[in-house]
Amino acid sequence: MTSNPEKINTELKKDIPDNTAGRSLWYYSWKRLKRNKLAMVGLYVLSFMILVAIFAPLIAPYDPNDQILEFATKPINFKGEVLIKKERGSNGELQYIPIKKIVTDSGNDIKYIDYNNEEKTIPKSELNEKTPFKTLTFLLGTDRFGRDVLSRLIYGSRISLSVGLISESIAIVLGLILGALAGFFRGTTDKVIMWIINVVWAFPSILFVIAISVVLGKGFWQAFVAIGLTAWVDVARIVRGQIFSIRETEYIEATKAIGFKSPRIIMRHILPNCMGPVIITGTVGLATAIIFEASLSFLGLGVQPPTASWGQMIFDGYKYLIAGTNWGLAVFPSLAIMITVFAVNLLGDGVRDALDPKLTK
C-alpha cells in the first residue's frame, strides 16, 4: 500500500488537465449542450433563421411587396414571362409587362399577347436594353396580389424573430428588475410586486396581449410592447424565487460582512447566479412570443400590410386552402412558424438539461 501523499496527488492529477482554473458553469453547460444532438439541431435551425432574417434583401428573389396582379395566386414553381420596361418605378424598381407569349420579335417592335388575350405591340426602345424579356420563376407560387410567396416568407422571418427577441428582452429586463427588487428587499416591496405579478398572471396572456395591442393601436412596436408587458411575470417569479434561496447562502453573508452596498451585491453576486433559470425561462418565452406575434397578425392586429408577416400570410392563404385552389399560401408560413418555434423549443430543452446538472444522467 502506498501511503505517500505526494504520489497519490500526482496520480490524481494525471486525469485533470492543468488549465481547469478559469472554467465556469457556462463552459461546462456549453459542453453539455454541444453533446445534445437535438438541441444542436435546434440551434442550427434557429441560427439559419436569424441569418435569413438579417440577409433577407440579399436572399429574397424579389421585392416582397412587388405586385404583378396578372400572376395572382399561382401554384408552386410558377414561371411567368414578362417584358421589362426601360423606365423604372418611383422606388427604382423594375416595371414588368406580364405576357402570355411573344408573337413576333422583328426589328424595332415586339408583338406579344397579354393576359387579356389581346395582341399588342411595343417598340423596343421602351424596353430595357440588356434584358427586354425575362421568365420569372416563383418557387413557392404567388399570393392574391401576385407577390412572390418565397420572398414574403423570407421577409416575414424578420418580423417573427425581431418581435420575439425584442419582446422577450423587454420581458427579461422587466422581470429581472422587479424580481430582484422583490427577492432582495422582501417585506412590503415584495408584497406589492407579488401583487402586481399575480394580477397580470390572472389575465389569460393571449387575450391580454390582444387587448393591449387594441389599446395601443395596430403595428410593429405595439406588438412587442404588448407581449413584453405580459411575459415579464414568468421571469420575475423565477428571479424572485432564486434570490430567496441565494440570499441565504454564506457567500452573500460574506459580501454583507465586508460591507458591500445592496446594488453591488444584487448586480455582481446575486443576479449572475440566477441567470441559468432566467435563460431557460427566456427560451420558453421566446417560443411563446413568436406564437403570440403570429396570432396577433392572424387577427390583423400585428404588423400592418403590406409588410409581410407569417400570421397574416396564413390568414390570407386559408381561404385558398379550403377552396382547394392554392394550398401553399397557408401551408408554407404555417411550416415556417412551426419549424422556428420547434427549433427554439428543442434548444430550450437542451439548455435546461445543460444548465441543470441534476437532470443529466
Binding site: 399575480n198 390572472a202 389575465f203 389569460p204 390582444i210 392572424f298 379550403i322 423549443n345
Partner: protein, 308 residues
Amino acid sequence: MWVYIVKNFFYSILIILGVITVTFCLLYIIPGDPARMLLGQRADVKSVEAVREELGLNKPLYVQYYKFLTKAIQGDLGRSYSTNREVTLTIIDRFPATALLATSALILSTIIGVLIGIISAIKKYSLIDNFSMVFALIGISIPQFVFALLMALIFGAILKWFPISGYITEGWNHLILPMVTLALRPLAIIARMTRSSMLDVMNQDYVRTAKAKGLSNAKVIFKHTLRNALNPVITTLSASLAATLGGAFFIEYIFNWPGIGLLAVDSILKLDFPVIQGTVLFSAIIFVVINFIVDIIYAFLDPKVKLT
C-alpha cells in the same frame, strides 16, 4: 385551516380588485372617444355630448373609476356597443359552451397525456419514447390557430368526417374538432410532465425498495410511482383549467363555437370595448377563483402545503 382559507380568500379579493383596475385602465388609455365609437364617426356633436354625459365621461377620472368599480362589483359591466345588450348577461349565456369545451378537452388530454407519459417513462429512450416526446414537442410548438386550421382542413373540408362550424345544439359531433384541437397543447405538456416526474420518482429509494421486496412491475408503477408522480401533473392541470375556462380564443373563433372566446375575439374585431373589458375581466376572475379553490383543495389533501 380556517385562517388559511380566510387569508387566501382576502388575497384573492385583492387580486380581483387589481384585475378590475387594470381592466378599467385598458379602456381609458385607448386613443379616441368611447362616445364617438358608440355612435359612429358621422354622429353630430350634440348627441356625442349627450352620450358622454350619460356614460359619465365628463367626470374626473377618479369618479369614473369609482363608478366602474362599484358597478363591476355588482356585476354590471355596461352594455355592448353593437348589440346594446348587457355584457354580463351575454357572458353568462356564453359560459356553458366554454365550460363544456374546456372540461371535455382537459379530460381527453389528461387521459391520453398521462398514458403517453407513463409509457414513455417505462420505455425510456426507446423508439416509442422518442417518438412520443417529439410529438409532444411538436404539440407545444404549433400555434393553436394553425392546428385549428389544419384540423378544420383535414377532418372538415377534405375528409368531411366532422362539421367545422357550430354548436352541439346541431349535434354532438360539433364538439369533436374543437375539443381535440384544444386538447393538444395540454396533452403535450401533461405527457412531458408525467414522463419527467415519473423518471424522478422511479429513482427514489422507496421505489427500489418496492421492487426489491418482489412486487410486480404493474404494482410498482401504479401504486408506488404514479401516485407520487402525479402531483406536478395535477398542478399543471389546474392551471390549464383556470386558463381555458376563460375561453379558448382562437379555437372558438375558428370553429365558430359560441363561447366566451368567440365573444372576446368578435368584440375585439368590432372594437366593442365594453364587451372586450367584460370578457377580459371575466377570464381573469375565473382564473383567480379556480386557483383559490385549487389552493384550498391542496391544503386539505397535501399535508406538505404550509398553512401560512
